[in-house]
Symmetry: C2
DNA sequence: ACCTGAACACCGTTCAAGT
DNA sequence: ACCTGAACACCGTTCAAGT
């Protein structure tokens, strides 16, 4: 039973979640499939392409998201999309890094950005996306640092860093959405 | 004349600008200094620490920045800081990646974030910073893609992508600042 | 179509030893 | 204090060859 492209992507995501991005090498993905490293190049031209496919998989399912409540404006819907995107990225180890890096290569092309642009305009969509990527990345970095600190046995000053970061994300989102309502772009 | 830590950081920044982050290896930095790779470990514990020092160097000089115009509010001053930070990161190849990665590790600790927080509050500062990092990163990625396209000889659809991205950055900044004026955080 | 086996040109980091 | 030389355990990618 030879492998398919979907098998390769799934194996790569398993390695990513288990070992982290830094250890997610072509060689380890190949080992996960019990195959020689060179076999991967039959399915994928290079590592960067594999990472892009992994990013697509991580983000898949963010849209259509919760049914659009008819009584809410585009801002509320945009807020839901950003929360769902964040949850999807945080759902897998180093997911934010993978998505942010791959997305940067083709900002403007993703379905998520187009959905946001339809709701709040192109500038608003870009601002919301970049903020969401950045905040998720820094959340994940802090988590890793916290996990490392716990391993080392360092005293953890923050009793509930997760919920504070969660709340911080929502407040930043509200700042941007308020700016959009106020016509911050000068429009 | 043996090398000092400052020599190592300077050499690393030269390699970064000339070869890009992907080729900025410890071995190449050592070669730039005409020294064995192992010699670097006398000055720096590991590559990550070297990258952090490089990030500090790139951002150094963003503050104090232009003298605070007394007649302008904190928003205008915050806007200047973000523009200066962006310019500093774009001033060196892959500078945005280096700074964003290193800064993520200690968000809340940087002088730039503290200066912004004093002007627009902690949530506003974080929102502005994450947006600035993210936008600079995607600007640099697009530049690389454009440079690669030019090398390959692909038709470039956008005649002046630089200025459009520049303007786009300013508009996003204005959205966030308008949100802060509107009290977007619910305050 | 999918994979093996072997190779090429690299990595980061450690460590004993030199001056 | 700063560096050399050699080694260890890895990388991504290519390519001829097998089935």
């Amino acid at each position: 039973m030879r492998n398919t492209l979907a098998d390769v992507v799934a194996a790569a995501l398993r390695v990513l979640d288990a070992q982290g991005l830094e250890n997610c090498s072509m060689r380890r993905v190949a080992a996960e499939l019990q195959v020689q490293p060179s076999a991967l190049y039959h399915h994928v031209p290079d590592k960067q392409s594999l990472l892009a496919l992994m990013a697509d998989e991580i983000v898949a399912g963010v849209l259509p998201g919760p049914a659009p409540g008819a009584e809410r404006g585009g801002g509320g819907r945009a807020r839901d999309i950003c929360l769902a995107l964040r949850a999807a990225m945080l759902g897998i180890r180093d997911g934010a890094d993978v998505v942010a890096t791959a997305a940067a290569f083709r900002l403007g092309a993703s379905a998520v950005e187009q959905a946001l642009a339809a709701l709040v305009g192109a500038d608003g969509a870009r601002t919301l996306l970049l903020y969401t990527f950045g905040h998720a990345q820094s959340t994940q970095t802090h988590r890793q640092a916290a996990a490392f600190g716990a391993l080392v046995g360092a005293a953890t000053a923050d009793p509930a860093p997760g919920s504070e970061l969660e709340a911080s994300f929502g407040r930043g989102l509200d700042i941007i959405l308020a700016g959009l309502r106020a016509g911050g772009s000068g429009a």
